[in-house]
Amino acid sequence: MTWFMGIDIGSVYSKGVIIVDSELAAYHVIPSGANYQTAAETIRQELLRQLNLSQNDIADTVATGTGATNVTFASRQVSDIVCTARGINNVFPQARTAIEVAGQSTKAIRINEQGMVTNFTISEKCAAGSGRFIEVIANVLRINLKDFGPLSLKSRQPVTFGTGCAVFGESEAITRVAEGVPKEDIAAGVNKALASKISSLVKKIKLEEPCAICGGGALNTGLIKTVEQETNIKLLVPPQPQIITALGAAVIARTPKPNM
């Protein structure tokens, strides 16, 4: 068997996968922390441990993400846009658009049958347009990120945020908490604000269905539902949305190099 590794060092989380043929064999996600090199090494050790492999068993490794250059054991670095597209194509070959909601940005990517990128757009460097907004408000509400989605789905009256800014949004959330507004209404309000930014981003590249959503933001079930409402389409959600880009990197590692 031939094993391939993909490592995605993001601004907030680092992700790694090992694939064998086209199948996902192992994956691991950890906070990136202050040292990307350490994060990459930790993931590598854990992946190898899970499958009881040694480094020599890995035929090739591709690194991607903000900290890709810190993955010293990878043979090359590939842009995260390309990796996300390839990862989505691996899980949903029929998908023509991918939305990736990450910790520092949101990306909308058009993908062809071969899994190649035909067009893409990235959100402005604005926390309110990324998963970071959810983190900021989850912190105000003192709830775990994994509880954010289910909680928001209970809301019957989402609050409206007055600006498109996470800093002002944080103050607004604090005020709403002080006024006694239920947490679920605040959480649902944030999902709505972010979904509307995502929806206008996707319009820039003319969304073509089927459309998939991935990235850490896609772990938030409330956000997915709100994006579906905003865009008026049904989204494909991979079982492990956070590791799609790392998966794409591994798939690229498997692909003969001249094609890249």
Partner: protein
Amino acid sequence: MHFAGLDIGSTMTKVVLMDTTDRVLSAIKGPTGPEHRQLANEVMRMALEQANLQLDDISYIVATGYGRLNVPFADDQITELSCHARGVSSLFPNVRTAIDIGGQDAKCMKIEKGKLVDFAMNDKCAAGTGRFLEVTAATLGIRLEDMGNTSLKATKKIPISNLCTIFAQQEVVTLLSRGEKLEDIIAGLHDALASRVAALMRRLKVEPDVVLTGGVAKNIGMVKAMKENLGCELLVPEEPLLTGATGAAILAKEIYIKASAEGETISTKPRRLKKATFFS
């Protein structure tokens, strides 16, 4: 006769008491407080005490600013744009462009012969307001009021690549850990904010005299950065926080005197220093 102007900002509440000759009898700045707008009566009480007046002595009271609708004893509410324009032109009769950078927004005003003719505003993104410096100062562990002087020691400006306040917060931590000097980082932050505000101002035509007000005008490093980014001289009032309240007091006088001259009866609110009941 005496008149009062109250400017309830997001961070500070300001009160100016004046007589009919526009002489300032007292000027008080106090915190707006965490319980939004509830401290207006307290700041008003301090202003009256300083001027040795009673609330009953005030003929007309105008409130302005973010919290203006919730001052129970104010007779009238006027937008902060009108009050700022009036206040700035009373201090600088030749002003044609005024920029007020507060804790929650930035307002650029075009003024002709003392009247507001056009404006541009940012209240949507913290990175173009004083909040940008407030947040990053906290991250750097420096007091907001020390930022200006510290930045003057800078030997270079470190470019801040993130326009978003939240990401800039992360960026300054990275810069510190890389061993960059505090003063160089702060000079970079000032430049980042100044370039954003200058871009807002350029939506209107920037013509002299240009006046800078708001809490940010108290930061000497920001005044320098704004001058560099605009490429022109800047006038800064001695009390850059008080122009809104000053304008409100002058407008209070003008409304009252005009009504009296025309023989109209002007309605005023009960002269009781009541606490605003924002949450009820």
